[in-house]
Amino acid sequence: MEMFAQILSSGIAVGMIYAVIAFGFQLTFATSGTLNFGQGEALMLGALVGLTCVDMFGMNYWLMIPIVCLFGMVQGGFVELIGVRPAIKIKSEFGWIMSTIALGIIFKNVAENIWGRDALPFPSPLPMEPMEFLGANILPMEILVVVGALVMMMLVEFFNRKTIYGKAVVATANDRDAAGLMGINTSLVITFSYALSSLTAAFAGVLIAPLTLTGAAMGGALGLKAFAVAIIGGLSSGMGIIVGGLILGIVETATGFYISTGYKDVPGLILLLLVLAFKPSGLFGKTAIKKV
């Protein structure tokens, strides 16, 4: 029981990390039907910018967060303007895939040149002494990751449902052409959704950085796992993203413990294949019918 609680708690912490990044995929998919494949790199840049603020300028961890969020917004907007908007304009089906991947690689190389390729430790804002909870040891930072991720997702949801600007986002998500006819500046909304998605990734970066090591290479693996989570949970459901993240995190940790640590990454991929085969829109996704 104690073991299970430990596996569960570690799995939840890892899963929530995946979920926050996956949340960013969902934001851009809803408004424009496109994804930012550089999401992992947005997270990496956020973490490294945060590290620079904390380490070089001696800034307080909490004061640094808004700066990183602002940086994330600018970075996301940049990706949309440079990589995605041209593809949408010429109605290219897949141009955005190549351009967001390309921008991701460029960001990684730029980060390597600025920060080097070393894995750097990130000072933790909370004590690193574990707390006991139902026989499992949990780091305060892990709880902060889970809480921080949930709060951020709720804020975005609140923004989308209750504010007039958020309603513009939802309208664009539902029917871009109709929203455009109603006087909504849909391309601005799309840029905004990219900015928001990179913001969430950058925020996720500084949330998890004290738990992991920070470095130019940290985005790749996490971005990929988050993409799997987005597919498993469904790209159109916020709930699905959270559940998908938790499933993947717990399954990975449990496989490592009950089967073999050498096969830790396998069940996640099998799950991904199963979902794609039997429910391509994701566990919680709505099936979209495309008339041709």
Binding site: M3, Q6, I7, S10, A13, V14, E112, G116, R117, D118, A119, P121, M128, P130, E132, N137, L139, I208, L211, T212, L213, A217, M218, A221, T253, A254, T255, G256, F257, S260, T261, G262, K264, D265
Partner: protein
Amino acid sequence: MNIRRHIFAVAATAMLSTGAYAADIKVGVIGPFTGGSASMGVSMRDGVRLATKEINAAGGIDGNKIVLVERDDEAKNERGVQIAQELINNEKVAATLGYINTGVALASQRFFQEAKIPVINNVATGTLITKQFPNAAENYVFRTSAADNIQAPMIAKEAVEKRGLKKVAILADSTNYGQLGREDLEKALKTYGVTPVATEKFNLGDVDMTSQLLKAKNAGAEVILTYAIGPELAQIANGMAKLGWKKPMIGSWTLSMASFIDTAGKNGNGATMPETFIQNPPTTPKRKAFVEAYLKDFKPKNGIIASPVSAAQGYDSVYLLAAAIKQAKGTEGPKILAALQDLKTPVDGVVMSYNKPFSAADHEAIKAKDVVMGIVEDGKVEFLNAEDATAKKK
């Protein structure tokens, strides 16, 4: 057109005039200068630079200067292969020093073997490295680091014989280094009749070691034996602290990497590993002079060399090579090889004094007696056994 002809003429005379009196001896230096193994690679390179500077300042090798051709292999096998070919075909190096990563060494050194150019591995420790070409008439691969089949028995001895810990768990990464080391470790444990209660694996960059550590804990492990590099080792130490399960960590020499010591912080205290060189206290005048020169030239953070072992072994490898080239009176590979296998003059190195370090049958400079145990104490590596720390008479 005229201008171009002039440039040609000037270049040609310049080449002829220097060539007539002294030739540069090109020596390749390969290692990861960026990335997870960079603390080892950069320290090694700086050790090599220091020795080269000293030799050149003292007149080079019979008046010929050593010129280093440094390349960053990024700890990637494919980069290593590219660089090996570049150094052989374009740069035409006389010999090559380096390789930090066992995998990169195994992938790349066959090009040097085929081109008959000696390679001195000064950091990589995989047992297979010097035995990769058992059927070749001549073996061009040498080593100045403590091979895994020296380190693994020391690790097993420390855990089982000295501390009486029979329930061991092995945690090794999934690279060549980790898995070959794990095999050596299992072999060494077998001599004590010990089978590990848990053998776990992880990938580079894994952020959560909970399942590996839980398995070890559940199996009742009393000690964690490791074969991995700095960042992941730190995740293990930090993961143990999180689980509130403190067991001794004993592992390969990589536990002395700065990336482990800095990232694990106080959780890294007590980690024990075999070492060929420990920065403090310097046990010989040569070591003292080396550390002072290194600190003066490269000014590492807090006055601690990021990887003292790599720096010392890198430094020594240059002197061994220089002695061989001097004795060979030429830079052709087979001549250097013959000289290395039969060094007439002893070389006074930092790690030890090398007296006939290599023979045709044995390309390992370091033997088990030359290695001591070190322990991590508050951000530094100290001697584990006090008798090793007292100054030895040469």
